[in-house]
Amino acid sequence: MLISYYGRLADSIGMAQEECALPGGIATAGALRGWLAERRGGYADLTDAKIRIAADDRFVEDVADIANAAQIAFLPPVGGG
């Protein structure tokens, strides 16, 4: 699964994208958010409820099943154009 971090998240986490193999038991967007946030460093920012999640280019709620998604994006509040 390809995970992308946009805006300030890429700065705090230190990368814009990474490839992750989900462990068993991580099946929803919210569970993925929580699992990543347990890592050290800037990943804790992912727990901010204002960070929206998109699975395969569609916005999803935390309860959504993302186990079969190819791409997940974490999107902080937009800055406007």
Binding site: Y6, G7, G79, G80
Partner: protein, 154 residues
């Protein structure tokens, strides 16, 4: 011609407006707005803006919002050209243009498009100054401007 173009390519506002004007021949009114990178900000002298978009959601969200908008339903045509990536101070970030039968509808369409782009469009914007850099979020004034359209036409 696509109504929305999001790309890291530099924008030539005169050429964009000329093409739009030619396509809108016969419309009574054409209004355009060009936004540039300011050369100074509270953070100091601005070197560049870094504009990030999502490869799919940015364009589809603008398209949905504008296609459904009662403000834009009064326009005969409209255009959004938005630059992404690193944009040096003084260069064009965005151009919007609207055509309508009469001037008020064209002014309102361009005004509405910019208010949406400044607050809701899926862009992330980092201002890089000589000494500092910071991610920029919409100002209270931007949200107030956007909210003017909430009850438009009701």
């Amino acid at each position: 011609m696509q109504r929305i173009r999001i790309s890291p390519d530099p924008i030539d506002p005169a050429a964009e407006l000329e093409a739009f004007t030619r396509k809108s021949a016969g419309s009574g009114a054409i209004v355009s707005f060009t936004g540039q990178v300011r050369s100074s900000s509270p953070g100091g002298k601005v070197v560049k803006l870094h504009l990030q978009s999502h490869p799919v959601l940015t364009q589809s969200a603008i398209c949905d919002a504008f296609t459904d908008s009662p403000v834009l339903s009064s326009a005969t045509d409209w255009r959004v050209v938005h630059r992404t990536g690193d944009i040096p101070a003084g260069e064009t970030i965005v151009l919007v243009a609207a055509a309508a039968d009469h001037r008020r509808a064209a002014f309102e369409a361009a005004d509405f498009m910019m208010d949406y782009l400044k607050t809701e469009a899926i862009f992330w914007k980092k201002e890089i100054c000589e000494q500092t850099s910071a991610w920029i979020e919409p100002r209270a004034q931007d949200y107030a401007d956007r909210s003017r359209w909430d009850n438009h036409g009701r």
